[in-house]
């Protein structure tokens, strides 16, 4: 009995370690769809976008100054790529109990103020961002439709200058989507940037 229990505990422990160290998607992985509430009150899934060739999924939020610095650039990305088949889907991953500025009512308010023309979804219960492996806001995942699957093609930053949109040198997200639209693989598939940690209740 004791050995059985030990074996069970060990298995559980190994499972916990392996899921924890998995740490979300790598480029080339299949991404799962989700069903999350949009600021317009409707539930949104990626499967709803029949004509899309892929998605620019961006974990972002209201309160983070890095997210705010990128708002206009996120709006511009959606305007540029939605009609070409790569709409922006924004997801707020934060727990409003920790960061009240990122509550659903506040999201609606921000989306209205800025005139977001893309879904701004609430990761209620914080189930989706850990699957993707988002760690900060903003954090971009570019997905390409391949048959019934969604394949992760790029993970990282929008560009190389949060301080000043005028001084940007490398536009990584645009370059990746342009490459995918041209039928080729993005040259840069992963980048890093400073951002706000995702707000979770400390256990």
């Amino acid at each position: 009995m004791n050995t059985l229990r030990m074996a069970g505990m060990t298995l559980l422990f190994l499972f916990a370690v392996s899921t924890a160290s998995a740490g979300g998607y790598q480029v080339g992985d299949k991404a799962t769809d989700f069903r999350l509430k949009n600021v317009d009150g409707r539930m949104v899934s990626l499967a709803d976008f029949n004509s899309a060739k892929g998605f620019i999924v961006i974990f972002t939020c209201n309160h983070c100054p890095y997210s705010v610095a990128y708002e206009d650039r996120i709006i511009a990305l959606d305007a540029k790529y939605k009609d070409r088949g790569y709409p922006v889907v924004a997801i707020n991953p934060n727990d409003p109990a920790v960061q009240p500025q990122d509550g659903f009512a506040e999201m609606k308010e921000r989306a209205r103020e800025k005139g977001f023309a893309f879904p701004y979804l609430f990761d209620e219960g914080q189930k989706i961002y850990p699957q993707y492996g988002a760690t900060r806001t903003p954090h971009v995942f570019i997905l390409e439709k391949s048959g019934k699957d969604l394949i992760v093609r790029y993970i990282g930053a929008i560009d190389d200058n949060h301080e000043d949109a005028e001084e940007v040198g490398k536009r990584w997200v645009e370059a990746a989507v342009d490459a995918l639209l041209a039928g080729s693989a993005p040259a840069t598939t992963s980048t890093k940037a400073i951002g706000c940690s995702i707000k979770v209740k400390k256990s």
Binding site: R136, G156, D160, N161, K192, A193, I194
Partner: protein, 171 residues
């Protein structure tokens, strides 16, 4: 010809310090404070270990709530009398336009006496991995160094967690 060479030598001599000056740190000043502003190349020497001192380097910003919450623990660590000297460096990632309006008043109000430097180098993708390959870029983040021992944490600390973490470098 000789004169011409002399003039060239003269020009080179004077050109050298000018070039060195462009490498020197910039500063942001106000509230009686003078804080160096570095690119990553300027910051890098501060991220080197020594045997006799524990280096604690915290990446933070005034707009980052969990950073601000744990900052007093780093200040306390800096002021504490510990068996091994601890050198705390607070690396601010505040935005350029908020250095004078926000960072300096914040440091004055909180009476921060630990060493503060600003890292102003927007292409973070070029330097995040140099700080630590496991860093995703989220702040707060803390690097602790002593001799060959090096630990990086992308997390926020309670007071006890921070002191316990640094104590593992005392042995």
């Amino acid at each position: 010809m000789r004169n011409f060479l002399n003039i060239i030598a003269f020009l080179i001599l004077f050109a050298l310090p000018t070039q060195a000056q462009t490498q020197a740190p910039k500063y942001v000043e106000g509230e009686g404070l003078r804080i160096p502003v570095y690119s990553y190349a300027g910051l890098a020497p501060l991220l080197t270990a020594s045997e006799d001192t524990i280096h604690v380097i915290n990446f933070w910003a005034t707009w980052c709530a969990p950073c601000v919450k744990e900052l007093p623990y780093f200040e306390e660590l800096h002021r504490a009398a510990l068996p091994v000297p601890v050198k705390v460096t607070l690396v601010s990632l505040d935005f350029r336009k908020q250095l004078v309006t926000r960072l300096l008043p914040f440091l004055r109000e909180r009476d921060i006496t630990a060493s503060v430097v600003v890292l102003d180098d927007p292409d973070a993708n070029a330097w995040i991995n140099k700080v630590d390959a496991t860093w995703s870029g989220a702040i707060p983040a803390t690097l602790v160094l002593r001799g060959a021992k090096r630990e990086f944490r992308e997390q926020s600390f309670t007071r006890d967690e921070l002191f316990q973490f640094v104590h593992t470098f005392m042995e």
